[in-house]
């Protein structure tokens, strides 16, 4: 009896100690929140600049961001006008030419990579700082309706050093089907691995693979939905090595050329539900559910003896 009393007392004190530990944990964690600064939303894709203009300045982190401040949804024609205005509004001190572009979709199923393999040449017009320019290629993929990019996947790729920088704009909801979602866009920055000095022409190539995912397309009659991609927008941004681009030394130019005019548009065929099956599917689904439910109910009531005169107990 004495041992049982001691065990009961030990159990009670252990229980009290457990609750005390929980209270200490809650207090410490609450303190951590209370004493930390509230610095607003933590957003992987935001930079600290809040541009007031309707076009992006050259030195702003993401060229596309300002477009989405002005427009609710992505439209190809208005975005192309926006890019033209961005280029006109920013100095072009480095001239870039697209020599070749291979744009295609790699992989199978609902998760693929949008591949862009481009060859380019760069020639600076004039350099204010003779120590050399660092350039980056800005690749902007305007994704069609029915395809989305996962911003957190891109964050992981940045951490692994695949891209210098990346952002997803537009509809980033990962779960909705295509008829309930809008288009999105991926902007990726790839460092050009060379110092650019005045008078020297530089050529290079870069291969980029962007992970993209298919949304559920609208139901149809033939079982598949076909989606086409537009060619990516390619920009070159250069600035003085070692310093963040400032408005004085930043140069923005379009990488254009007559590369591969005959290439067909990249397309993606995605499985879709078949509309004509809707009634049969619904009927069989409900019937199966009701049948399974009835079986479970009958067995339960029999086994437990409820409703004895209707079900004989086994």
């Amino acid at each position: 009896m004495a041992m049982a009393d001691r065990m009961t007392a030990t159990t009670k004190s252990n229980g009290a100690l457990t609750y005390l530990y929980l209270l200490v944990y809650i207090a410490l964690s609450s303190g951590q929140i209370f004493f930390n600064k509230e610095d607003g939303a933590f957003d992987y894709m935001n930079d600290s600049d809040e541009p007031n203009a309707s076009i992006a300045a050259c030195h702003e982190k993401y060229i596309s961001k300002t477009y989405f401040k002005e427009h609710e949804r992505l439209q190809d024609s208005s975005f192309q006008d926006y890019i033209v205005r961005v280029l006109e509004g920013n100095p072009e001190r480095v001239h870039a030419e697209l020599l070749d572009l291979h744009h295609n979709l790699v992989g199978e199923g609902s998760h693929r990579h949008l591949s862009s393999h481009l060859r380019y040449s760069i020639e600076p017009d004039s350099i204010s700082d003779p120590s050399g320019q660092q350039c980056e290629i800005i690749l902007i993929e305007r994704l069609p309706s029915g395809v989305f990019a996962d911003p957190f996947e891109y964050q992981h790729l940045i951490q692994r050093g695949v891209f210098k920088d990346a952002a997803v704009f537009g509809d980033t909801n990962l779960e909705l089907p295509s008829f309930l979602s809008s288009r999105s866009m991926v902007e990726v920055h790839i460092e050009v691995d060379s110092n650019i000095t005045s008078g020297q022409k530089f050529s290079g190539e870069v291969k980029v693979e962007l992970p993209v995912h298919a949304r559920y397309p609208p139901v149809g009659n033939d079982g598949y939905s076909r989606i086409e991609f537009v060619k990516p927008d390619l920009l070159l941004r250069c600035g003085t090595e070692g310093s963040a681009c400032s408005s004085q030394n930043c140069s923005l130019s379009c990488i254009t050329g007559s590369a591969d005019p005959g290439q067909n548009a990249v397309s993606w065929t995605i499985p879709a539900g078949i509309e004509t099956r809707a009634k049969v599917v619904s009927a069989v689904t409900f019937a199966s559910a009701l049948l399974s439910a009835a079986l479970i109910i009958v067995v339960s009531l029999r086994q437990s003896g409820i409703g004895g005169k209707f079900f004989k107990q086994s």
């Binding site: 964690s29 600064k37 939303a41 933590f42 008829f179 079986l295 479970i296």
Partner: protein, 433 residues
């Protein structure tokens, strides 16, 4: 027995630590991550919370702020804190399983076997080490069962309110808990008397002192008892208190993401549920009230039938309710399976189902149906073939497998009320004197 159980626990703990370490290595060196995508969501939400921002700024964070709160050390201590917490909860479930079975008088070998069914289940040890939070819910559910078994109504109610705030699904247990808090079992100031386990139950009526129908009628007739009112008030207050605090801190975002989303979720994307294709084919049109009622009817009727049949055998009632709830749900993902995996060990000692060959048949049937579905899911998602019809038929087969397993467990289970009638016991003692 104590030495063997402790060895099991230590071995399981070391194994889980090694898995977590391996997971960190795989995340850093391989394209495919070991860590669950959801863990990254929780972790990001915790980092947001630690800087004073809303965890709901993290897309797809659809949980109580309490989860982000528990993972705050992810920001200040180590990003793997959450995995260690979930794996510790996983081990705690093993301890609670042992405690429940020992309290009910189960002998050493069946007890050890049941604990191993949880600790060595591959699904179990991967789910915590990958960063899934379900082990916390499982531990809370088992703690609630232990509290009820000890007659600690206030404690059970407190944790029940908390766990329903954390995860909505335990709301299905409210009715059997209310029914079991019967004055014929719980007398004020006394612990309830647990029905002892027996190795052999030759007679169907052994352990049943009152017919089920009489018990239900009696319980419904005297629904407003002290224990029931206390449970309702305390759990309701805790739930509302947590919900109000979360709403006060994070506003409508909390309500939309953490509560309404789960209550109204109809995901058209393929999952184990038989309803996924029906939802996808009708997603562009709103569902009529009749359609919503018809899809809810099987779930509701099965739950009520199971509750009224098995409420007195509380652990078994929880188990069958959970299996049925998952099987008839509009969305089924693999993590839901752990909700009934944690309850399976506490009912096994009362099952006459032998591993050879009924047990093996149940395991194979369930796993083959699941693998069959996964095969078609792979063809759709990773090979891009239109196999929606085949995938939907596979989900019907999976429902059939779940039904088969559930029916087998019900037929082979020895229904023994968890509590003995105190009133009848004292009457018997009176007669002896």
């Amino acid at each position: 027995m104590m030495i063997t159980f402790h060895f099991l626990l230590i071995f399981s703990a070391i194994f889980r630590v090694l898995l977590i370490m391996y997971g960190e290595w795989q995340d850093g060196h391989m394209e495919v991550r070991y860590t669950d995508v959801d863990y990254l969501v929780f972790s990001d939400a915790a980092i947001l919370m630690s800087s004073g921002a809303s965890p709901y700024n993290r897309a797809t964070y659809r949980y109580s702020p309490l989860l982000a709160f528990l993972l705050l050390p992810n920001a200040s201590l180590h990003p793997s804190w959450g995995k260690f917490l979930f794996s510790a909860s996983d081990l705690l479930v093993g301890i609670f399983i042992r405690d429940i079975l020992k309290m009910r008088g189960v002998s050493d070998m069946p007890c050890l076997f049941s604990v191993m069914v949880w600790l060595f289940n591959p699904f179990t040890f991967t789910i915590g080490t990958r960063g899934n939070c379900e082990p916390i819910v499982c531990a809370a559910i088992l703690w609630i069962i232990i509290s009820i078994m000890k007659g600690k109504v206030f404690q059970a109610a407190f944790w029940y309110g908390l766990v329903v705030h954390f995860r909505v699904y335990p709301v299905i247990y409210v009715l059997p808990i209310i029914l079991i808090l019967d004055p014929q079992y719980l007398q004020s100031g006394h612990m309830p008397v647990l029905t002892p386990w027996k190795a052999h139950w030759p007679n169907q009526s052994d352990g049943v002192e009152m017919s089920n129908a009489n018990f239900i009628l009696s319980a419904v007739g005297s629904i407003l008892t002290r224990a029931r009112v206390l449970f309702g008030l305390v759990s309701g207050s805790v739930f509302l208190g947590c919900t109000w605090l979360s709403f006060y801190l994070y506003g409508r975002e909390f309500l939309n993401e953490a509560v309404l989303y789960h209550l109204t979720r109809t995901d058209p994307r393929h999952n184990f549920s038989i309803y996924f294709y029906h939802i996808y084919l009708h997603y562009e049109n709103d569902f009529s009230l009749l359609e919503k009622l018809i899809s809810f009817l099987p779930q509701l009727t099965v739950q009520l039938a199971l509750i009224f049949s098995f409420a007195r055998d509380l652990p078994f009632c929880f188990f069958v309710q959970t299996v049925a709830f998952v099987a008839f749900n509009k969305v089924i993902t693999a993590q839901y399976f752990v909700w009934f995996f944690c309850l399976l060990p506490i009912i096994l000692p009362w099952s006459s189902m032998k591993l050879k060959w009924e047990g093996v048949a149940c395991i194979l049937c369930w796993m083959v149906a699941q693998t069959h579905w996964l095969m078609w899911g792979y063809m759709l998602e990773f090979r891009g073939h239109n196999v929606f019809l085949q995938l939907w038929l596979a989900s019907l087969l999976f429902l059939a497998a779940n039904t088969f397993v559930l029916v087998m467990f019900i037929r082979r289970h020895k229904i023994v009320p968890i509590f003995q009638l105190v009133y009848t016991k004292s009457k018997s003692l009176g007669k002896l004197e």
